[in-house]
Amino acid sequence: MSAETARKFQALEDQAQNILSVFCASDYETVVPSIIQPADLFLDFVGEDLRRRTYVFTDPEGSELCLRPDLTIPTCDLHWQRYGRTSASGRYCYNGPAFRFQPNGDDSYHPREFRQVGIEFFGNAQYEAAETEVLALIIKTLKSVGLQNFKIRIGDIGIFEALLGALDIPTRWRQRLKSQFCRPNAFRAALKEMSSRPSVTFEGVPEDLLRDINELKSRNVEQIIFQYLDRHNIEFIGARSVYEIAQNLTAMIEDLQGEPISVAKRELLESYLNVDAPVRAAGARIRDLMRANGLSLSGALEIYDRRLKNFIASDIDLSRLYFSANFGGRLGYYTGFVFEVHATGLDFNVPIAGGGRYDKLMRVVGANADVPAVGAMIHTERLLRAFEVNQL
């Protein structure tokens, strides 16, 4: 239970104030977003996975609202309301409650009401520099409140994307593998399907329709669809457009004509995703893997090295860091570098801090293009628990 007693509340509050003072000393501006937020802001972007954990309610005027499940999106909103342009930069920090339904029950590691203390750094186009600044500040903060024993797990979906890009496979397969990156079971199923023969089947989709579209390439696909619907007395209803259906059917035909993913490619993807090692060893391992398969991924791996150099320059102790290729963040909105901090003595499933890059998030609050954004937050209840556990 969170903050059940006055003493516990005071301990959390004191710790949060200490953390916040470190953030402020590094020129991060304190902001205080509203606890009650419009539900759409969160749910349109993060989807049902988070929605099932969000306290949503309707007010007497019928507006759908929620108790904020996180402070990052409200902070994006605040920044966008203030500047309204993608080039504006800003550094923010916050300290306040957030709320999530805990499907497996509310406990001291998974409180449904928790105090989130965090930072957001928007608009810096020097990617690795911004990522280093955020990670270094989180480490400095954790040390300043007394945490000594911890490991940091990092990941970068950018390397995986580069690997997909370097493999000669249909675009749609790439998109699908990328979108399932955070869901290991669905990912394995997709990869298995793409590597078997026939690699895809569209069971149910009328074969004569696909044949017509394939044979009459010169004709308008939408027209072929309408004729098919007329012939079968099917009424066209709903918001999904015939254009979308045409696009999907056309891509299906390409998929059907594509070659399955070869054993070598599948093994390469699997070997890459199994990389889980101290950061330097991981970099070397990935390079070896690519070399053995005749690929370079030079861009993505240069970024990886540059980031490590920046880490060293900022006094980040690399021996604490290890890289997991299959780690893309627990929320699915990260677009590149991610990290989470694991305190010694706490379960692997309860990182005490985490963050990363999410360049698409500003779009949710109105931006019409990506905005460079890196942020991180500290689970203050878990941090307090880490001290308790280690004292025992």
């Binding site: 149910g204 209803i237 999904r240």
Partner: protein
């Protein structure tokens, strides 16, 4: 807590009649005590039983929270209302009435969508074109989430529907639905089609006799339960 075993049965409609018939068949006769419009009843021949006539949603909820010992209710409601079903209740017997399927249905004109995999792809294309998520109207929020999660789909939004769901895609308030159906006829008139195979059927449900695991069982209530179960051949 009294020493009586409390059994919740549907308070109105066809389900009330069918419950009475199912119990009569095994020699148990449910009747109201007091007024015909009252909410209390008894079972002939068995002492220490209180029959409570309540709504089906309340039966599911009371089994979960342990306000009743036994309940007669559809599996669909139990699976929708209770997270962690096996921790809270035990299914004792299918009663062979109240058959409904909880199904995933899409507009028939989506000739490219026949399985959940196709829904996943359609949802991704939809999001790129409409800058919002494809929406699913349903009253089965938890069953829908489980089914979609199981198929690795998160690019969608649930629109909660409290009344008739089948005509929602026609009116444009949502793109597809998850709903109960017994014959599929209403879906057809609303230009909808159930997805193929297991992808389209989330649950084949019927009314069950169900026991609560959260209620405090005493030797007395257990004895009454055994007597009822033995009549049902359990």
């Amino acid at each position: 807590m009294s020493e009586n075993l409390i059994i919740g049965v549907p308070s109105k409609g066809r389900l009330t009649e069918q419950t009475g018939e199912a119990f009569s068949k095994v020699g148990l006769h449910i009747s109201k005590t007091g007024s015909e419009r009252g909410y209390h009843g008894k079972i002939s021949d068995i002492n220490n039983v209180e029959v409570s006539f309540i709504s089906t949603a309340e039966i599911a909820n009371s089994l979960k929270t342990g306000r009743i010992h036994l309940g007669v209710v559809g599996e669909d409601l139990i699976r929708e209302e209770i997270i962690g079903v096996n921790d809270h209740v035990k299914f004792l017997k299918k009663l062979d009435f109240g058959h409904v399927d909880v199904v995933v249905a899409v507009p028939d004109c989506w000739i490219d969508v026949w399985r959940m995999r196709d829904v996943e792809i359609a949802a991704q294309i939809y999001r790129r074109h409409h800058h919002r998520r494809m929406s699913v109207a349903t009253k089965y929020i938890n069953l829908t989430r489980q089914h979609f999660m199981c198929h690795g789909i998160s690019d969608y939004r649930i629109v909660e529907s409290l009344g008739a769901t089948e005509d929602i895609p026609m009116t444009g308030k949502a793109d597809m639905i998850v709903d109960e159906t017994s014959t599929g006829a209403t879906l057809k008139t609303n230009n909808l089609r159930i997805l193929n195979g297991n992808d389209g059927v989330i649950l084949r449900s019927e009314v069950n006799l169900i026991a609560s695991k959260t209620v405090e069982w005493t030797p007395e209530t257990r004895a009454v339960e055994n007597e009822i179960l033995s009549r049902f051949g359990i």
